[in-house]
Amino acid sequence: MANKDRDSDLALVRRVKKGEYAAFDLLVLKYQSRAIAIATKYVKDLHLAEDIAQESFFKAYKSINTFREESAFYTWLYRITANTAINYLSSKKRKSELLESDLSNREGEAIDIFDIPGGESPEDILNANFLREEILINLGKLPEEIRTAVTLREFEGLSYEEIANIIDCPLGTVRSRIFRGRELLQETISQTMDIKKIGNN
């Protein structure tokens, strides 16, 4: 699955290199939540983490031509985000040290922004658990031929061609079934989580 994910990213990266911002926008949509999560490994404030993620995407876009496609785009973005966060912390530390030397001449005292365990907030973890639970429940409700195609794709990481060989049907049918499965999952999940419904209730 990772390879296919990488293929998908590289197809977009190549379009970005040709100046198509729409391709970069899709990469931002795909990776923004994870980029913010990376940033929160270094800074506590969510808004600050968003700023760092934003700056990281900015840097990624500006230096996209230096991405040699030897690694996955996400790996490259991860490094950029981590470095951006570290640079921010270094800059904060320098400011803090200057201030502290002015006030009390203390040295080497770590500021509290360092070594903070990162990751999602509990609400995001709950959302993720909730979402995963919903996906699994609703996957089980899909028609068998659709469920099989989606399962082979998402859990086994098989290509469309491999899936077509296994279930003995045209490649276009595989593509169509996977799409239909995702659409159905989206619909049911959206229904479950419908704000209007909640509001009315």
């Binding site: 993720a128 469309y160 959206s190």
Partner: protein, 229 residues
């Protein structure tokens, strides 16, 4: 026409499009916010299938990034934009309510520190689901099934797991609970595989997994459902 384009977007997400098709899809997405939203949702669903952290689902910085780069993106109107994110954000808010009024009424600056928030909210959630009342209700849920409680695990993610075994046939199953606000309750009751557990500390989403029949799972969920009590 749009369905065909969405199918291509789905294939793009799997790296299964030719370069020519990618170009076509990008042209369409650029001018159609619905297709852009579709891409976003597909990514969410694909992430949901995996076991990697999903990150901050309720944050969207894409328009900020575009603005900073001097680009414009066609977004859906605020009302309908990022519905799923909005929904997730709402669930997040509800989760906060569930985690206890103590934290909810804490200073707003706390919200800006997810790690502190995590610790505080997790403590509250764990307090709630580890209550004797919750255990008792779980036992009621499997009453009449000769199921034996094997282990309990609450973890630090605000979830609660109880493992059961049916000695007569050796089958095992897990009942899991996740905090959920009462406002979600009536909305979610339509599902036959998910139910709710109400304790004095709030309402929890309950699901059953394991190698037992769907009928048995549904029976357990039915037993757990205390909405009308």
């Amino acid at each position: 026409m749009k369905e065909a384009m969405k199918e291509r977007i789905s294939a793009l997400a799997d790296g299964e499009l030719s370069e020519f098709e990618v170009r076509r899809v990008l042209e369409e997405i650029e001018n159609d916010p619905e297709l852009r939203e579709f891409w976003k949702r597909i990514q969410l669903i694909k992430l949901g299938f995996g076991d990697q952290p999903l990150g901050f689902l309720s944050s969207d910085i894409s328009s900020r990034v575009a603005r900073e780069l001097g680009q414009s993106i066609t977004e859906r109107s605020k009302e309908s934009s990022y519905i799923l994110n909005g929904k997730l954000a709402l669930v997040a808010c509800l989760s906060v309510v569930l985690s206890g009024t103590y934290f909810y009424t804490a200073s707003s600056s706390s919200i800006q520190y997810p790690d502190l928030f995590a610790q505080e909210a997790s403590n509250k959630i764990n307090e709630a689901i580890n209550s004797p009342e919750a255990i008792s209700l779980l036992d009621n849920a499997v009453q009449g099934m000769n199921a034996k409680l094997q282990s309990i695990d609450s973890g630090d993610r605000g979830q609660f797991y109880a493992d059961y075994r049916i000695p007569s046939n050796g089958k095992t199953f897990k009942v899991s609970l996740s905090p959920l606000d009462s406002k979600m309750n009536s909305n979610r009751l339509e599902s036959s595989r998910v139910s709710y557990l109400r304790t004095k500390n709030g309402i929890f989403l309950v699901s059953v997994s394991g190698n037992i029949s769907d009928e048995t799972k549904n029976q357990i969920l039915k037993n757990v459902n205390l909405k009308d009590k």
